[in-house]
């Protein structure tokens, strides 16, 4: 089987013959996809806010869109990191803000209100995915109050702790040459 990584191996080093299973779960892949989506959307919001406000009939709110873009990018970066769970929850919160902002533009005199409705639908869909991914990627660290095995008998000193201490004291008792 072809393994891309074998191309960069230093000559003579072991090369992959057959890959073993990855522990990445579907929810990890989903988190990754949402992370990149977040960064992409954030970049568009940040770089082309006017296009977005024009499409939504919400001209004049470019600064808000820009700020949302920054938020999307940061949440995206977090979702791609080892702290992806925090990133995904940040996205869930962000979806709420998005929905609130869109709803504020859903007035009867907005000629683009059908676009806003469509955008709301999309935000709803994405929010469901964000929520799913956030639920499924909860850190697996045991909670603080979880019961744990303790190791009160593992001193590591076969002759006992006191023996180890007194051995060191005996050595220390031999006077060292005076320091000048």
């Amino acid at each position: 089987m072809f393994h891309f990584s074998n191309i960069v191996r230093t000559k003579g080093d072991p090369k992959i013959l057959e890959g073993g299973p990855s522990l990445k779960r579907p929810e990890d892949q989903l988190a990754r996809a949402l992370g990149w989506f977040s960064i992409g959307l954030g970049a568009v919001e940040f770089l082309a806010p006017r296009r977005i406000t024009a499409t939504l009939g919400m001209e004049g709110h470019e600064t808000l869109v820009r700020a949302f873009g920054v938020r999307e990018i940061l949440a995206g970066i977090m979702s791609l990191s080892v702290d992806k769970n925090a990133g995904l929850w940040a996205r869930v919160g962000g979806d709420g803000l998005d929905a609130a902002a869109l709803l504020s533009g859903l007035t009867s005199d907005n000629p683009k209100k059908s676009n806003i409705a469509l955008a709301l639908l999309m935000v709803g869909g994405i929010a469901m995915l964000d929520y799913r991914a956030a639920q499924d990627t909860r850190p697996r660290r045991p909670p603080r109050e979880a019961r744990r095995k303790l190791y009160p008998n593992r001193s590591g000193f076969p002759k006992g702790l006191e023996n180890a201490r007194s051995g060191a004291k005996q050595i220390a008792a031999h006077p060292m040459p005076e320091r000048s």
């Binding site: 891309f4 073993g20 990855s22 660290r141 190791y151 000193f157 702790l161 180890a164 060191a168």
Partner: protein
């Protein structure tokens, strides 16, 4: 052979790979009998240390039996010898090796140009670590090629189980060096941040070196209980103020000696806001490390004291309190461990029953379960402290 291979962030797999071969006359090949997962491997698992490539074999705590030697190994090793492999690859001949500064051997980093760019000078080649340190295939595998094998080995006798000897490869000498660097005097209080495997070894080392009082700091009850068993007074930094407690235990004067066995991934928590800021900066690549422990040590250390850093830092740390560091007249000593500088003495101490480093092992599993064990060790599930893998 089977080996644990890095494929990306949080993605280590047990792959089938080609067997290593002798590439240089100074090489030897060993059949691995035991290997372990180290806290440093977690930094790589999280991709916090730059310079890993997909396909890299993990592992730098390894021992086994020599099955093949190159023509240049010069009688120093022969087939059938039982050796522990130090994680630092050493030539034994350069200026630094002659001084015993093995982890900065001038010869063995085969990608030295990378290290010279980033660090100013090259350091020794390391097994199963990043390409900054040579990108040498690691020992979480069935076989390992040991470069410069005539110098890069610790011969160990038959009759002592692997579990007692394996940690001569890294964590035992690392904890030892961290303590030796403190110049411990019989009146000293030594405070140790982090009760992972390295911290546990540092605690025992400080006791054997005659510290008056050893204080260990962590937040995990199982690790604190193990620290206490080794003779330490403990502080849980989630429920207590580290600075207050350390001052209490030293009549307000602070510990003379402070050891960092936590490293660049300090626990992130709201009650230590600097860790939140570090984490945020780390994500947007404005900072590579989270040096909370370094800051705390400088703040609490007794003036004139010594700070010894065993925990790994990878790049840039912000908001270092240099004012306190300078005005308090502190000394900082650091380094990847000069493993072979200490191992003769430490092997003797194991043989004489002074210490048995196997106390730290909580999990022993087949190599094929390695990928799961990275997660268990990282998440501190099942009261895990140290994982040994059997190929």
């Amino acid at each position: 052979m089977k080996a644990l291979v890095w494929h990306g962030k949080e993605d280590i797999r047990c792959d089938s790979v080609t067997d290593p071969e002798i590439q240089d006359p100074r090489d030897a090949i060993i059949k691995v009998t035991s290997c372990a997962i180290c806290g440093s491997d977690l930094h790589l698992f999280h991709n916090f240390i730059p310079g890993m490539l997909p396909g890299d074999i993990m592992g730098h705590e390894t021992m086994g039996e020599v099955v093949e030697v190159g023509s240049g190994v010069d009688g120093k090793l022969k087939k059938g010898d039982r050796i522990v492999v130090p994680f630092t690859i050493i030539c034994g001949e350069c200026d630094q090796c002659k001084r015993g500064n093995f982890s900065v051997c001038e010869t063995t980093n085969r990608k030295r140009h990378l290290a010279e760019k980033v660090f100013g000078h090259s350091c020794a080649g390391l097994f199963g670590y990043t390409h900054l340190t040579g990108g040498y295939p690691g020992g979480q595998a069935e076989y390992l090629r040991v470069p410069y094998a005539d110098a890069t080995h610790i011969k160990v006798p038959a009759g002592i189980p692997d579990e007692q000897l394996l940690f001569l490869s890294d964590i035992f000498p690392t904890g030892w060096q961290a303590a030796v660097q403190c110049d411990i005097e019989p009146t000293d209080t030594v405070a140790i941040w982090g009760c992972g495997p390295v911290g546990q070894m540092a605690i025992r080392s400080a006791i054997l070196l005659g510290a008056n009082q050893v204080i260990a700091i962590d937040c995990l009850p199982e690790r604190l209980s193990m620290a206490e068993a080794g003779g330490a007074t403990t502080i849980n930094f989630e429920t207590e103020s580290v600075v207050e407690r350390l001052n209490e235990l030293t009549d307000g004067k602070g510990p003379e000696k402070c050891i960092d066995c936590a490293g660049m991934e300090a626990h992130v928590m709201a009650s230590q806001p600097d860790t939140l800021l570090d984490r945020a900066k780390q994500m947007v690549m404005l900072e590579s490390d989270r040096p909370h422990v370094l800051r705390e040590m400088i703040y609490v250390c007794r003036p004139g004291g010594i700070i010894s850093v065993a925990g790994v830092y990878s790049g840039f740390s912000d908001k270092m309190p240099m004012g306190a560091f300078m005005n308090k007249g502190l000394t900082m000593r650091t380094g990847q461990t000069h493993v072979n500088r200490w191992t003769d003495d430490l092997l003797r101490r194991i043989e004489q029953g002074e210490i048995d480093p196997s106390f730290v092992i909580t999990h022993t599993v087949p190599l094929s379960q390695g990928p799961e064990m990275y997660q268990v060790f990282r998440d501190k599930r099942d009261s895990c402290v140290k994982v040994v893998l059997k190929p």
